[in-house]
């Protein structure tokens, strides 16, 4: 039988400087899933990496691999960092807790910005990437499909996303606290991704004097600049653009900071020491933290902005309660499905095995008994059947009453397998059918 395991860290357990060390780019995530599959072929794995969290989901045989320490070792090796840097920030969850956590994450209840819709798309991307690489099968397929359905239900049926303040709007609010007017200001975007687009959209509404987009890919820069009547500028001239800029939005996928304190210090004189607002929404960060210590330089990273957004959640408490109710209901549903999925066949195998043993013993006994009538034979058959049923009644009843995906239940099932030699009969299902009422979540993206 399979058990669920989750190892991860998020914005609540790890600061930005730790998260950025173990974050995966899309390409890195795909390579990591392939590496995990190669190393642990018996296990199912999915890797979710966003700016707020890195979570490794695994479904494995009881006492199978990967074990938590192997997952930590894998993360450390993959990123080339010492495990001590991040290990104390990790959380581990098992079985039902994994289900509850993933449903909570997909519903954005675990996000720094509650009600944000981007997480649902990120969970879907993580699942798709793992599925395409054979990382998901009998347990993670239904788990992630159900998680997507739950997330969609929460976001569409509760008011959790209403009145939500976006990171972009918070960035503009901060800009208004620094600058009085924007008609004489220059906004520079370094990077041309989705987040840059969202933030630039807000700044474009302020009608700045110039809006520059600087990206390694000139085509992407031109495309984004065109959308906001801006100018695409060469990445090689970044220092010149920084000198001209009053507001800088940085969101590249660079693994090292592209704006350093030394660089900005050297530029300050040319900038006439005027205030500059740097919004670093990249992970790993694009701007060295020390830049924020410079006089008249205001540096905000994704955590700074999200924390402000999160502070607006009080007014949505009712919606959060409703969302938690939905999540709890679906966790129960999934657990029941999992229980039926795991226990049904096992109870069936147990019952068949012992009735078969009893039948074999009965045949042997009957062969030794001469002149036995059909009625007496029938009575003996009934007797053995009743004895087997009585013997199995208590353990089966207890299993049926216990809740699926709880540690105790999985221990029972595992013990049952070992004590009654049921493992050899078990077939590792590769079915991808989900729990009852699965919703194939291919709904609108974020």
């Amino acid at each position: 039988m399979q058990r669920l395991l989750l190892l991860g860290l998020n914005h609540a357990t790890a600061p930005l400087e730790v998260r950025e060390k173990v974050a995966f780019s899309a390409d890195g995530r795909d390579r990591a899933v392939e590496a995990l599959r190669a190393r642990f072929p018996e296990a199912e794995v999915t890797l979710l990496s966003t700016c707020n969290r890195v979570e490794l989901y695994a479904a494995r045989q009881t006492h199978g691999h990967p074990r938590p320490e192997e997952m930590i070792e894998f993360l450390a090796q993959f990123h080339g960092v010492d495990a001590g840097v991040f290990a104390r920030h990790l959380y581990q969850k098992h079985d039902r807790d994994v289900v509850a956590h993933l449903f909570t994450v997909a519903s954005s209840l675990d996000s720094m910005v509650l009600g944000e819709t981007q997480i649902l798309g990120q969970v879907r991307e993580a699942y798709d990437a793992a599925r395409e690489r054979g990382g998901t099968a009998a347990l993670l397929n239904p788990l992630f499909q159900r998680a997507l359905a739950v997330g969609k239900e929460v976001l569409s049926t509760t008011a959790i996303g209403e009145g939500r303040v976006s990171v972009a709007s918070v960035a503009v609010d901060y800009a208004r606290r620094i600058f009085d007017s924007f008609s004489d200001k220059v906004v520079l975007s370094i990077g041309a991704g989705k987040m840059a687009s969202l933030v630039l959209q807000s700044f474009a509404q302020l009608s700045p004097r110039r809006l520059l987009v600087c990206n390694r890919s000139a085509d992407k820069a031109a495309e984004l600049a065109g959308r906001f009547r801006g100018e695409a500028v060469p990445f090689d001239d970044l220092s010149d653009h920084l000198t001209a800029a009053d507001i800088v939005v940085s969101s590249t996928g660079a693994s090292q900071p592209i704006i350093t304190a030394r660089q900005v210090t050297a530029l300050r004189k040319a900038m006439r020491y005027r205030p500059i607002f740097l919004i670093d929404i990249a992970l790993p960060r694009d701007v060295e933290p020390a830049v924020g210590d410079l006089e008249n330089v205001y540096l905000y990273n994704i955590d700074d902005l999200q924390q402000v957004v999160a502070g607006t959640m009080d007014q949505r408490k009712d919606a959060v309660d409703a969302a938690r109710g939905i999540v709890a209901r679906h966790v129960d549903g999934f657990a029941a499905w999992q229980r039926a999925r795991e226990m049904g066949p096992m109870i069936d195998r147990l019952s068949k095995r012992y009735h078969q043993l009893a039948a074999e013993e009965l045949v042997r006994t009957l062969n030794k008994m001469q002149g036995i009538s059909d009625t007496e034979k029938s009575h003996l058959e009934e007797l053995t059947r009743r004895i087997v049923n009585k013997l199995l009644h208590d353990p089966i009843s207890m299993l049926r009453k216990s809740e699926g995906l709880h540690g105790a239940t999985t221990q029972y099932l595992h013990a049952l397998e070992r004590l009654f030699h049921l493992e050899d009969q078990q077939q590792r299902g590769q079915q991808t059918d989900g729990p009852p009422d699965p919703e194939d979540d291919r709904g609108p993206g974020e």
Partner: protein, 285 residues
């Protein structure tokens, strides 16, 4: 000399300004529209009471000119009225949250000073044209520096909030850019007026020689502090030439300059031999 009834009315104005200030500061915890309106009503009422005292005192003056800065009582109330009027004007035209937190305490201090120091008798030379120009320019400068100091303090608070990366409750303090602009504009105006005040003060000294400063007038605390304030503001105005000297440094200096100006007033009125002979007019002669 204010009458007892006038002093009671000034006390009422102080109380109204204090309540208005308290209600405005309370918005840091509970940012309700009701508090804003109540605070504004108190400030308007306080301003009305202070103006009423001013009119009453001027109208009741038995002799003398119509010049409004004839004694400490009028001078300090004028400063308070103009400062409170500035707050209300800004809040009406282009609101600047938190301006009253920094300006109203100065208003209250001015009104208290009017009550405490307003009993001094005016000097004979008060009526001269040079002296009147001196008074108006120095008081005008003090007013501008009070606004610069308040804007500087607001800048520091706004800057601190931005550095702490939190969006606290209550009204926004205004952008750093606007606060810096207000500081510069006020310092520029105040510097010009203070320069005129210093020159006319020197003229009064040379022409009339009745200022009570004596032969060593240049050593008197009033003159030293006034010149020091002038130097500080000259440094502040130097910022556009040397851009590294802006932001927090300008804000701190504008506050320091205002403290020196307050020191000048204290020297004039409270320090024996400080320049006002312990009972001079308006703290500026």
């Amino acid at each position: 000399m204010p009458t007892i009834h006038q002093l009671v009315l000034v006390s009422l104005a102080i109380l109204l300004f204090a309540v208005g200030l308290g209600l405005s500061v309370a918005r840091l915890r509970i940012d309700r529209e009701g508090l804003r309106i109540a605070s504004k009503a108190c400030v308007w009422s306080g301003l009305t009471a202070a103006l009423a005292v001013l009119v009453w005192h001027t109208a009741a003056r038995p002799t003398g000119s119509w010049l409004p800065l004839e004694d400490n009582f009028e001078a300090f109330i004028w400063l308070a009225v103009l400062l409170a009027g500035f707050v209300l004007y800004v809040q009406r035209t282009r609101p600047l949250g938190g301006l009253d937190w920094f300006v109203l305490p100065i208003v209250i201090v001015m009104l208290v000073a009017a009550m405490v120091l307003g009993k001094a008798k005016p000097k004979e030379y008060v009526g001269t044209t040079w002296y009147w120009i001196h008074l108006v320019s120095v008081f005008g400068g003090a007013l501008a520096f009070a606004i610069a100091g308040a804007a500087g303090a607001m800048y520091l608070l706004a800057n601190r909030r931005l550095r702490s990366k939190a969006l606290p409750h209550g009204p926004k303090l205004g952008s750093l850019e606007r606060l810096e602009r207000i500081t510069f504009a006020s310092v520029t105006l105040g510097f010009a007026l203070l320069t005129v005040g210093l020159i006319t003060g020197w003229v009064v000294l040379k022409l009339d020689g009745q200022t009570g400063l004596g032969a060593h007038w240049y050593k008197s605390p009033k003159v030293v502090l006034a010149v020091a304030a002038w130097v500080v503001y000259a440094v502040v105005l130097h910022a556009p030439i040397n851009p590294s000297f802006r932001g927090r440094k300008v804000a701190l200096l504008s506050i320091f300059g205002f403290v020196l100006m307050v020191g000048t007033l204290v020297a004039v009125n409270l320090v024996p031999g400080g320049g006002g002979g312990g009972g001079g007019n308006g703290g500026s002669h």
